[in-house]
Symmetry: C2
Subunit: 384 residues, 2 copies
């Protein structure tokens, strides 16, 4: 029997890795919808290859190109935000929610409202809209499968266990490219230095988040929503080799950890096949060849981001969305050369002290908080 | 609701750890039978404390002492091999099979034949009698819970997964006290040096097995019976810190590992509460404080035991029982100062080449093979 899949964000790296796995067992899958922001030619090529029902570009101005590229294929073409949501409502056994940023919120919510399985790779869904999304997950009985390598590791280590038996959950962090840098070195770190991530190949924004450790802090907020163990039970440990992707310790003293290569196809495959397993071409883990795995406590003096994120998760309501928006604006300013590296977290903390809107209860309110927080953050930047 | 438990081998270290855990949640358990070899006073004390139905000494000459120590308690006292088996047939939700050596085989089999849960700590049950025991487990639909720290780790990492999805299972080995020793040093290793195990506190025989790595080889044979993944999928990695207790790698590239302190109460608690969890007083794992975990390939030139055990598992039938008997005789000779350390595995290999009886199909046949192998081994020793 084939399974129906929709990929929101099919031309990004998560989308490409997902399709790479599906390509390897083509007969087991039926592709419903593939979406992209504007990469019409690439999207059309994928839609043809996988015989998708519909292809959607989020940016409506790219729709004519998509139509042209799909001419004669029999595959429907659509464009714009409403079309994206419509694609996400088409029945699919599993939806991969991999649109980056706030644009992913509404289609992710539409997929959740189907009440089936959603493999979540969009960070904002839980960081900015965690309460709203998790309420929808509960209401619709949706199976939420975390695709992020850390959260997927935790999900695997929790399988079959009662969260009430968890003593702690530990997210591992590579520590980023500035792990060994002194405070003085961090103060003059450049964007070029920040985007060189030691273990994972990723975009500029997320590389800077890795360097500041906001990435790990945001994951802490996500974990707080995904796994009902309470904030005090959530820990972070620096593990430079990024082989152990995260861990769960139980009340009996057993810790289960998930290890693997730094290849997103591993957690993606886990989501696609869950509760079973599927093949990936990833090389076997060879611990003897690796030799050693090291661990150390995070340094929240040099890297205050995880502390700020923990505080935001504790405050709840709109605060994580404000933190996320402030961080995005600050990272953009850093990448543009307008803000020193160490001012990123300073600016985020400053905005958290100044702007505390009421808790959003709908996605629209989340989006409004996000926009308002960004404009506050930009004004703050002008004052720097 | 209380659960009924029987502990075969209640005065040994596994028995004591089991009772320590039960003592902490006394109201959840009803103790059916407690057995010991001959420690009548200690056994009677435990039987009184836990209000056991019956206390049994394997050595019938100790029964008068047991009767005296239990006088007026209302607890039945019994002695001898048949009484041991009778105790193991009394209905219990879970039986902890922790009698050391061949004496544990018949009562373990009786517990298996109840068709409930058996937490297995007796090594011979799977090393010498693996085919016979596993056939009984299958026939009676028994839940076999491995109590050994490595096999329990694998059991936890396999929970909820289909063994068909396993790529490999890796047993971790501390490498023993002679891990760093040269072949020349090993040739003159003394019993006193061999019994100093770096991570676990254990008896002389098992300490020597750890030093030769027969311990890990025997665990490989046990794993071969417990986990139907095939011998080629079973690996060993040397991990001196003994923090990772074992690992399972799946076809998608995910590896699940179980980590914990070197405290037998962790795997025992896992068995007692399975599929739930229970509290233990074991300290939380602090990887940052540990700093590093190291791994290396085993050296089968200096430590041929794992190779011999793999060959024995592959040969099957009576061969693992012969290997186990030969090793016990050789270790006793080493401990008595009659055999050099490096001759232990040489002698085992020699006996495997000389004595290959047909496959036993009953426990009695296993016991006969064991006795015959021991007498061959002793004769071989006289020739050394």
């Amino acid at each position: 029997m084939t399974r129906a899949i929709t990929i929101l964000g099919a031309t990004g790296s998560i989308g490409a890795s997902t399709l790479d796995l599906i390509r390897r067992e083509r007969d087991k899958w039926r592709v419903v919808a593939l979406t992209a922001n504007c990469q019409a030619v690439e999207l059309a090529r994928l839609a043809r290859e996988f015989s998708a029902e519909v292809a959607v570009v989020a940016d409506e101005t790219c729709l004519p190109d998509l139509r042209e590229a799909l001419a004669g294929s029999g595959i429907a073409a659509a464009g714009g935000a409403a079309a994206l949501v419509e694609a996400a409502t088409r029945p699919a056994d599993i939806t991969v929610a991999a649109i980056v940023g706030g644009a992913g919120l509404a289609p992710t919510m539409a997929a959740i409202e189907q009440g089936r399985s959603v493999a979540l790779a969009n960070k904002e869904a839980l960081v900015s809209a965690g309460d709203v999304m998790m309420a929808a997950v509960a209401r619709h009985g949706t199976t939420l499968l975390p695709m992020d390598s850390e959260h997927n590791a935790i999900f695997q280590c929790l399988a079959g266990n009662d969260p009430a038996h968890v003593r702690s959950i530990t997210l591992t962090a590579s520590g980023g490219p500035f792990r060994e840098w002194s405070a003085a070195q961090l103060a003059v770190a450049t964007p070029e230095q920040a985007v060189r991530h030691p273990n994972w190949d990723m975009g500029a924004k997320i590389s800077v988040d890795s360097a500041t450790m906001f990435n790990k802090g945001l994951e802490l907020i996500e974990a707080f929503h995904l796994f009902p163990v309470g904030l005090d039970a959530l820990r972070i440990v620096v593990h430079p080799q990024s082989v152990v992707h995260s861990m769960v310790e139980y009340r009996d003293g057993s810790t289960l950890a998930q290890l693997g290569p730094s290849d997103m196809r591993v957690p993606i495959a886990s989501c696609l096949a869950w509760p079973g397993r599927m093949d990936t071409p990833c090389a076997p883990l060879d611990l003897a060849a690796l030799g050693e795995l090291t661990f150390r406590a995070p340094d929240e003096v040099r890297f205050p981001a995880t502390r700020l994120c923990r505080q935001a998760a504790e405050a709840g309501g709109a605060i994580p969305a404000v933190l996320n928006a402030a961080n995005e604006v600050a990272v953009a300013a850093f990448l543009a050369g307008h803000l020193p590296f160490t001012r990123i977290s300073v600016m985020v903390e400053e905005l958290l002290g100044r702007y505390a809107p009421p808790a959003p209860t709908t996605l629209d309110q989340v989006i409004a908080v996000d926009a308002e927080a960004r404009s506050h953050a930009r004004r703050l930047l002008e004052l720097v």
